[in-house]
Structures are given as C-alpha cells and as structure tokens.
C-alpha cells in the first residue's frame, strides 16, 4: 500500500533521515519509534508528500509521489505532529474545507463529514471554534480530517500525545477498528502503545532503521527477556552469590543490597531458555532464605534504550 524506498533527507550539512526503506501493507499497523530528533517526523513528512526527499522515492497505492503527487496524496490521510488546524474555524467548517478540497460534493460531502464526526465523537463541539477546544478535542478534529475520505493509507504523527488515559484508549480503539482495511503508520513515544495497537514496530535512530519486527520479537531483544530476579536474606547472601555466578545458563549477575537481603538479577546466556525453572529448583535444594523470586518483566523501553545510541549514556548507567 505504501512503500518508502531509500529515503534520505538532508538539511544543509545535517542528515535527518539516512536511507529508510519500509513497505507497509493493508492490515498492518506500524509503530514508528525513536528518540526525539531520530527522524520520525521527517520520514512521515516525506511519506505524505509535504517534504521532498533528497534521495529515494515514495509510492502510495501504486502512485509515485514525485510524478503523480495528487493521486498519491489523495490516497493518504495525515495527522501532522501537534494536530494543527485553522483555529478560527469550527470543526464542522474545517471538515467541510477538507472534504471540499478532496472533491466531495453535496450529499457525499455531508455523509463523509458525518461519518468522521461520529467515529471521532466530535458532535458536542462541532460548532465551537477549534482554538477554544481542549487539546484532546483538537487532536480528534485532526484525526477526523485524516480519516474523512476513508483513505487506504493512514499516517499519524503522535496521535495520542497529550491525551488523557481515556482519550488515549478511545484513539487506540479507533485505530484498531480501522486496522483491517488500511495500512497505518503511527509514530509514538509511548512504548506501551506499540504493544496495544501495533502489529509491527520499527525503531529508528539517527535517521536509520535499527529494529523492525513484531512487538514480541522486539521484546525478545531485551537483555531482561527471561531474566530472573531472586532476593535472598543476608544470612545466605554470600553463599548464594558464589553459587549463582557459576550457575550454568547464567550469563551475568547483578546485585543490589537491601537492608536485610540482597537482590540478584540473573541474565540468561540464551534468552529462549526459561531460567526461572532451574533457579526455583536450586533455591529449594539449598534452602536459602528466599524473600522473592520472579521473572523480570520485559520492558519495551529497555529494548528501545539499548537500540538507540542517541541515549547511550542512560543505557550504560543502567548496566552498572
């Protein structure tokens, strides 16, 4: 549905996007992740035809963005970062403007606007100037404009940014409801969102793709994947420390001292093996004073930090 081929964008001496290629098909919801300044927004701006790439090409439903820009743009619904809209207009006027510009007339226009309004639940504020609306409603106005023409490709730059938890949930549900019949790209800072709505996650850093896979595949790249935490009372702590360090299947052990106990985090050599079974057998045999034993929760943000070097200092600090 949408193909980005070797996109490069330079601003003077700065290379914001450095060779990004992605194909997103119908039914896919691609979560675009990366630290600030990684090139997410710039990539989206090229995908929607707002910025011209320095190199590379964009094809939307078979239309080349450079040679058939109007056909390509017609197939895209776009929510730019911060959901800009004409503040003095009401949501109704703004949607009419978008519908008109996209060639909707008469009854067709009315029904397109009505459908977008009901899907984004804007009815209550339809005739208030957009600039007087809350951030959540403003975002929904932008969303309504993006889905108005029922585009096969939907590109949204941080669709849930600044929304409260209920609004976030509503937007995610809306995205999920459209997921089957569209190719969707969303960018986000919120890693839990990837898990909640995306079928595929792409992490970019310094303008390059550093990871591309299902959310589960990305989780598996965490060094906490299948890691085990065991907390042992001070009486047996020294003994446990020496045994755990030499245990088969354990790659590395990190320790944290508490008042009456010591907490060990055991990283497996092979993340696919379930270390926790071995450990629980071991502590039962040794009859240590176990205060806690659990598998570490895999953290998406940890994967994110490991993969994105722009934030390398934080990742190193965590290992110490």
């Amino acid at each position: 549905m949408i193909e980005l081929n070797g996109l490069v964008k330079r601003f003077g001496s700065l290379t914001a996007v450095d060779g990004i290629s992605l194909h997103v098909e119908k039914g896919e919801v691609l979560g675009f992740l990366g630290p600030n300044g990684a090139g997410k927004s710039t990539t989206m701006k090229m995908a929607t035809g707002y910025l011209t790439p320095s190199e590379g090409s964009v094809r939307v439903c078979g239309h080349d963005m450079a040679s058939a820009p109007l056909e390509a743009r017609a197939a895209i619904g776009y929510l730019p970062e911060g959901a800009p809209a004409y503040g003095e207009m009401t949501p109704h006027q703004f949607l009419i403007f978008n519908a008109r510009a996209r060639g909707f007339r008469g009854d067709q226009r009315k029904s397109a606007v009505a459908t977008a309004v009901s899907r984004t639940q804007l009815t209550k504020v339809l005739d208030q100037p957009i600039q007087t609306l809350s951030k959540g409603f403003q975002r929904r106005v932008g969303l309504a404009a993006a889905i108005l023409h029922n585009p096969p490709v939907l590109i949204m730059d941080e669709p849930t940014d600044g929304l409260d938890p209920n609004q976030k949930f509503a937007v995610r549900r809306l995205i999920a409801s459209m997921a089957k019949e569209k190719a969707i790209i969303i960018s986000t800072h919120i890693l839990e969102e990837v898990d909640a709505v995306c079928t595929r996650a792409v992490i970019i850093d310094n303008g390059k793709v550093v990871a591309d896979g299902t959310p589960a595949q990305l989780m598996a790249r965490s060094r906490y994947h299948n890691a085990v935490i065991v907390e042992i009372g001070n009486a047996h702590a020294e003994d446990a420390a020496s045994v755990l360090r030499t245990l088969a299947g354990v790659d590395r052990v990190s320790e944290a001292r508490e008042a009456a106990s010591r907490r060990f985090t055991l990283f497996p050599t092979d993340a696919s093996e379930l270390l926790i079974e071995n450990i629980s057998t071991l502590v039962r045999e040794k009859q240590w004073d176990v205060r806690g034993l659990y598998a570490e929760e895999v953290r998406m943000d940890e994967v994110f930090r490991t993969l994105t070097t722009s934030d390398a200092t934080a990742a190193e600090g965590d290992q110490a």
Binding site: K9, F11, K45, T48, G49, Y50, L51, T52, P69, L70, E71, R73, A74, I76, Y78, P80, E81, G82, P84, A85, Y86, G87, E88, M89, Q93, F97, N98, R100, A101, R102, G103, A145
Partner: protein, 248 residues
C-alpha cells in the same frame, strides 16, 4: 484538472470566510471607508474643487492601498507557517497554484467589496453635478487592478516569513517602491546615477503612473497588461517560495 479546481474553490471559500470569521473584516472596511472619505473631503478638498468628478478621491488610492493591502495579505501564508496548517494544505491533493490563486482571489474579492462600498461618494457626485461616469467606471476598474497588484506583493512576502508583522512591514516597503517609482523625485535621482533605459524601466514599474493613465478614462491595453503581468509575476514568486518549503 478537477482536483485543481476543487482545491482552488476550497481554499478560496475558506480564506474568504476567514476574513469575516473575526472582527477584522468589519474593522478593516469601516476604517477603509472612513479614511478614503477623510482623504477625499479634507485633504483633497473634494467640495472646494468645484468639479463633478472623483479624481481627487481616486488619487489617494495608491497611498491608502500602500498600507491597507499588505494588511489584508499579511496573514495569507505567514499564519499557515506559524500554526503548522501549511502541512495540511500542502498534503491535500491539490496543485500549488490552486492554493496560491485561491488565497489571492479571496483577498482580492475582499478588497473589491471594500472598494465597492465607497459607492455613496459616486452617488454624491451624481446628485451634486453631472460627472463623466465612464471615467469613474474606468477609475474603479483601475483601482481594483492596482489593489490586486499590491495584494500579490503582500501575498508573496507573506510566504517568505512566518511572522505577520514582518510580512506587513516588508509588504509596505515593497509596495512603497512600486508606488513612488514614477514620481519626479525618484526619477530625477535615478537619472543621475543610472542609465536612461533603467530609468525608463523604473518609471514603467510605477503603480501610480499606470493608475493615473487609467483614471484619465481610457483603459489602455498596456496598463491592463502591466497590472496582470505584475500580479502573475508576484504570484509565481509566491508559489516558488512556498514550494521551497518542501525542500526544507
């Protein structure tokens, strides 16, 4: 082709309603009418001249447009850049010229409405005397074309910045150059430092000179071509400036 027209129509209607969505339009029209009247009656001594024509009234138009037209045009592109809506406009399936023309025509129609609302002074001269209404019609057409010229300059400079005040000030400055370039003062100075062909060119770029030619009652093709070419050139430059934003 229909894509272009849809876009032009949508942008035109949006911009035109935009003027009336805030008190701006009403404030502008009231001040414009008050100022045109005040200039004609007090500074131009409309009644004392003892002539049944509107030459005095029209002669102030270049100087009023110098400020009023950049004020109408300043928001056209600067505001879109400031609020980020340019990104919406430029990702809609319409050609760049649709947006440029749609905005310009909305501003031009608004200026035409303000100009049209000066009709009571036309009625007044007809009540008081027996003016040459052909000359007055020609003058109105000339004034409308000239307003378009100032607006095209203003629209273009609005695309060069995201700051409306800068758009206004540079708009007034460039408009001023096009207003005074035909005056004796400028031309005499230019004759000293520049070759004759350049002086003729500068004189030929003057709004005032071309407008005065039309005000004489004859709409010469050359004056028409001048204003239309000038509008087209500034709008072309306007489109180039907007398109450059795609490069980043």
């Amino acid at each position: 082709m229909s894509g272009h027209l849809n876009g032009l129509r949508a942008v035109f209607l949006r911009e035109f309603h935009g003027y009336f969505a805030t008190p701006l339009a009403y404030v502008f029209i009231v001040i414009f009418l008050f100022t045109t009247g005040a200039f004609a009656f007090y500074i131009g001594n409309f009644f004392d001249a003892g002539r049944a024509d509107l030459a005095v009234f029209f002669s102030f138009h270049p100087w009023l447009y110098l400020f009023f037209m950049p004020a109408i045009a300043m928001r056209l592109w600067a505001e879109e850049q400031k609020t980020g809506t340019l990104e919406i406009l430029m990702t809609l399936p319409m050609g760049l010229m649709s947006a440029v023309l749609g905005k310009f025509l909305a501003a031009w129609l608004f200026a035409a409405i303000a100009l049209g609302l000066t009709f009571p002074i036309w009625i007044t001269v007809n009540v008081l005397g027996d003016p040459d209404n052909g000359v007055i019609v020609a003058s109105y057409i000339g004034s409308f074309l000239m307003a378009g010229g100032y607006l095209a300059i203003g629209a273009c400079l609005s695309a060069a910045t995201s700051n409306q005040v800068i758009a206004f000030v540079t708009g007034v400055f460039v408009a001023f150059i096009f207003t005074v370039s035909g005056s004796a003062l400028v031309l005499e100075f230019a004759a000293v430092v520049l070759p004759q062909t350049m002086v003729t060119t500068i004189a030929g770029m003057s709004f005032t000179t071309h407008f005065q030619a039309i005000m004489s009652g004859v709409i010469d093709l050359r004056d028409l071509v001048f204003f239309i070419t000038l509008i087209a050139a500034w709008l072309g430059l306007n489109a180039i400036l907007v398109d450059l934003k795609r490069v980043g």
